[in-house]
Amino acid sequence: MAKLGSTLHRFDSLTSTNDFARELAARGTEEGTIVIARRQTAGRGRQGRRWSSPEGSGLYLSVILRPALSPARSSIIALAAGVAVAETLALDYGLTPDIKWPNDVLSGGRKISGILVESAIEKDLLQYAILGIGVNLMQEEFPEEIRDSATSILIESGRRVAPEDFLKPLLERLERWYRACMSRPEEVRARWEELSSYGRGRRVRIMSGDERVEATTRGLHESGALIIELESGEVREIVSGEITLRPL
């Protein structure tokens, strides 16, 4: 595997780094190639939600991956990316981040980083996965609709961190945890549980499809799914859907 970031495409402006990385990946571009932009005009998250991407205020990064994993086992990459971002914030910038399952990284209860992985599956094989990471660095304030739910390194610590300064330690940690997805996935799960307050014994409300349940978290399944125990004692695995904190 080529080192992550061994080839770098840097734009002043793009619609979305994930979109361009997908075009590259579909043309056979090698694993580890990264795309960054100073701003995104159509940055997005899960299900087409917008990711606020003002110029120079955040890191907008996409990484082309070609993991040697079956589609069913590849979801662990989404957790590993959250681990890499949270570790970088904690160890390199002195924050005390939390990870909301599966991989929203929070600081002081507000979102500081969002991760979106997009993959192409053909005949039960993963052709490629695009790992998209947005990190809020130097925003002093956010648009009205996310003002109460978003934060940045500047707001949390008073430090001004340039996107490319954050990129270097992040890529090193990503590389380590991405490799672990294939060789030692149990270490990814263990590290995730260490860094996240959502791993065990947390009261949560889960929304999935039309269903709403309240439960207590009981760690991660081998696949990376969140194990929850309902009040009835029934144990379930959550693989997707929204997770929200139960108000106490």
Binding site: L8, D12, L116, E122, G209
Partner: protein, 159 residues
């Protein structure tokens, strides 16, 4: 990187609305800078054109409603004469990349092996599922936003 690769890259980025682009890799650094001009209107990809003409509703909200609920899923047992596309993973089934966009495919649409028919989400990993066969979408077995199991039938394709 040889000249052919470089030419392909430049063709690929030519239509992106950037003013500065840099490529860095071992032994190579390429910088392209150009005047900021309004982006040249692009020919719409066929899929998007279809989506626009389909959705001439009065407001985006109305459009997303119709995209999600225009067709109700067929809950009858998969027909054996059809090629069945099954889910390769456990996750949540989405017919479109976002609630505002048109479904990837509708009943009656022609598909090629590389046509993306839906997205299955697991742990915020959005997996695009390809048709793998050439044919016509005859059945859609699952409703948008519902959880699916490994091996669960998603589409029936008349090949």
């Amino acid at each position: 990187m040889d000249l052919t690769e470089l030419k392909e890259l430049i063709e690929l980025i030519a239509e992106k609305g950037f003013a500065e682009f840099e490529l860095e890799r071992e032994g190579l650094r390429l910088r392209i800078s150009r005047f900021k001009e309004p982006p040249v209107p692009l020919v719409q990809p066929a899929k998007e054109t279809a989506a626009t003409s389909d959705n001439q509703g009065p407001s985006p909200a109305a459009v997303s409603q119709s995209a999600a609920s225009a067709e109700s899923p067929d809950t009858s047992a998969p027909e054996t004469s059809l090629h069945t596309i099954t889910s390769p993973i456990v996750g949540t089934f989405y017919r479109a990349p976002s609630p505002e966009s048109a479904p990837c495919v509708k009943t009656g649409d022609r598909v090629e092996p590389d046509t993306v028919v839906c997205i299955i989400e697991a742990m915020k990993l959005m997996n695009e599922i390809q048709a793998e066969v050439t044919g016509e979408v005859a059945k859609i077995y699952v409703e948008n936003g519902q959880p699916v199991e490994y091996g669960q039938p998603l589409f029936g394709i008349k090949v």
